[in-house]
């Protein structure tokens, strides 16, 4: 049986009267790459902050069997976290930063981080504030990948990066970090770029989880089909989640409708996460 790394029951977070995360149940086993997808302010970062013990919460939450809020210091030996590029101390030199991480993190391999940075244009004696966004991500990535962690959490890690750096970032995660015993959790707006590497998707809308499913389940459960105008009424009778009319035909997204039923309108196909997110947001 696959080990469950993250388990939440009734996990919720309020900021004053605003409920940023509504009571949520989650189970995330090892060996998954989970995409947490939602609009700005939907509650993605709130969920991650709770999982990482970065803020208090209500409900029952276990990450690797620990209470993240009360045992964050121990938990962070197993969890690695990259927020957006602006979180590294701008006043620090790269070499000093690596020294400090080596002094603070028992599972950090400084030599590995330096070796990785030597393959980039980042100079060890540079200050973080002198680096470009892409270089800062390289530094953060070098640190994260040199930590022997079980869970890697990425919160909008490629925000503001160009496409080359974004692709390189995810390639590095896949080749240098991920294996069957580890889990990666990613929040991002660039859904199309991470979709090919995800094994699981969680949609959040207005603080509530609207979808929590593996990509296999998503592929089986949600299908899209293009319907001609003369068949629209028949298709609408199957209660599609979403319909979008374009150039004389309407694309409908269905939830839990058998492919055989849909074949009467056209060839059913997988729904991309971006389209599914829009569909579920209706």
């Amino acid at each position: 049986m696959t080990e469950v790394l993250i388990s939440a029951k009734g996990l919720a977070k309020n900021y004053g009267k605003k409920q940023a995360l509504k009571p949520t149940n989650l189970e995330i086993p090892a060996g998954r790459i989970v995409g947490v997808i939602g609009a700005n302010g939907a509650g993605k970062s709130t969920l991650l902050n709770c999982l990482l013990g970065l803020s208090d919460y209500e409900g029952d939450l276990q990450v690797m069997g620990m209470n993240p809020l009360m045992q964050r210091a121990v938990l962070m030996e197993q969890v690695c976290f990259i927020a957006d590029v602006a979180t590294l101390p701008r006043w620090a030199k790269v070499a000093d930063l690596l020294d400090w991480v080596a002094g603070l993190h028992p599972k950090f391999d400084q030599a590995k981080a330096i070796a990785r940075l030597k393959t980039t244009t980042v100079q060890l004696d540079s200050k973080i504030k002198a680096l470009s966004k892409g270089m800062i991500v390289q530094v953060h990535l070098a640190i994260a990948l040199a930590i022997d962690a079980r869970i890697l959490v990425l919160d909008e890690p490629t925000l503001g990066l160009d496409i080359v750096n974004r692709r390189g970032f995810y390639d590095a995660i896949l080749s240098d970090f991920f294996d069957e015993t580890r889990t990666v959790i990613i929040t991002t707006h660039q859904v199309d770029e991470v979709e090919p590497i995800l094994s699981h998707a969680i949609f959040i809308r207005d603080g509530a989880v609207t979808l929590d499913a593996s990509m296999d389940v998503v592929a089986e459960r949600f299908l899209a089909v293009d319907v001609l105008d003369n068949q629209k009424a028949e298709a609408e009778a199957l209660r599609p989640l979403y319909g979008r009319s374009l150039l004389g035909r309407t694309t409908f997204v269905f939830d839990g409708v058998a492919p055989e039923q849909l074949k009467t309108f056209g060839e059913p196909r997988r729904v991309g996460l971006a389209d599914l997110f829009v569909a579920l947001a209706q």
């Binding site: 964050r72 210091a73 938990l75 927020a83 400090w100 002094g103």
Partner: protein, 352 residues
């Protein structure tokens, strides 16, 4: 322990400008000014750049000043060899060295390092103020620049982080400033001793002067340690406010310490110096200026049994240490512990 030392190294690097560079720059400025004044002939009881320029062009020129004494006016001349001669109004002339009796010279050996210390202590005095600003920003700035998200991804507890900030800013900050002060004191005192010799005063023992300086340093070091103990609840309070304040943490931390007693004075104070509420309200400010530990303190320089000025180190240290017997000291430490714990809990429960 390794983690704690790493945190301290990090915090010193973070606040290098305020904790390390500022005391060094202040000391360098003071030393430069002192050196300049000394080299330009300040030892002749005044500084006049025109005289100096003239003296450089005419090495034989005698510059002179008139001083008023209780016995009447006297002319003080400095010869080209640097030696000072005093001519009283009755026409008698004697060297400055002759004018100072051996007992006064012995007194100078005690007073001189105290005098130079009043100038050399400036880096420490400024550090005592600047650390309050640094401390107020310690836990606030990491939220403001979002670096808290990176530091919280390290396996370090909030209590360790908070304590390390306090130790690095207060402990390292103040004691580094003390070290700079001592180095500056050595330099200025050395210049002063050299100047005395230059104006012709003999019989001043540099060894005795520096021995007295060493006594001052021990008083200063022990006094600083005890001061930190007294001020710790205020430092703890500032750290807690830094963890909580959404903005302007310095104002948020210090406004209550000064505004509340002032408001109380405006509303309820009736001129009673023993008003317990008012005294309690002013206590944090009193702790910051070292009031509880200096209450009833004797002077640094006191006459000995043979009426020579001396620095009674043991007596001063005993007086400073006696303040540790006050319950307020230990209650303050417990309160400081509470504030530091509260600061760490606030940090634990908020991401930004």
């Amino acid at each position: 322990m390794n983690k704690f030392l790493t945190l301290i190294r990090r915090d010193i690097a973070d606040n290098r400008g305020a904790l390390v560079i500022t005391p060094i720059v202040i000391a360098a400025i003071l030393l430069t000014v002192t050196l300049f004044a000394t080299l330009t002939g300040n030892a002749r009881f005044g500084f006049d750049p025109e005289d100096f320029a003239a003296a450089k062009q005419n090495p034989g020129l005698n510059s002179q000043v008139i001083v008023d004494t209780q016995k009447g006016a006297a002319v003080v001349k400095r010869g080209p060899d640097g030696k000072v001669t005093i001519i009283t109004n009755d026409g008698k002339s004697k060297s400055l060295d002759d004018a100072i009796d051996p007992k006064t010279k012995a007194g100078l050996e005690a007073i001189l390092p105290v005098g130079t210390a009043t100038a050399a202590v400036l880096p420490l005095a400024i550090a005592l103020i600047s650390i309050l600003f640094v401390l107020a920003g310690a836990l606030h700035d990491e939220r403001k620049d979002r670096t808290i998200l990176f530091w919280k991804s390290m396996p370090v507890s909030d209590l360790q982080t908070t304590s390390a900030k306090l130790v690095s800013i207060v402990g390292v900050g103040l004691f580094f400033a003390l070290a700079v002060t001592i180095v500056l004191h050595v330099a200025i005192t050395g210049l002063a001793v050299a100047t005395l010799g230059n104006v012709g005063i003999t019989g001043i023992s540099a060894a005795t002067v520096f021995l007295n300086a060493t006594k001052l340093w021990s008083v200063l070091a022990v006094g600083l340690l005890i001061y930190v103990g007294w001020a710790l609840p205020v430092y703890g309070w500032v750290t807690m406010v830094s963890a909580w304040a959404p903005k302007m943490p310095f104002v948020a931390a210090f406004a209550p310490l000064f505004v509340v007693p002032l408001v109380y004075m405006a509303i309820a104070y009736r001129g009673d110096d023993n008003d317990m509420i008012l005294n309690a309200l002013w206590e944090p400010a009193g702790r910051l200026i070292g009031e509880p530990m200096t209450d009833g303190m004797s002077r640094i320089v006191q006459p000995s049994s043979d009426n020579l000025p001396t620095i009674p180190v043991a007596e001063i240290l005993a007086q400073l240490s006696s303040s540790l017997a006050q319950p307020g000291f230990w209650i303050g430490l417990a309160v400081a512990g509470g504030f530091i714990y509260a600061a760490s809990e606030i940090r634990r429960r908020r991401a930004l």
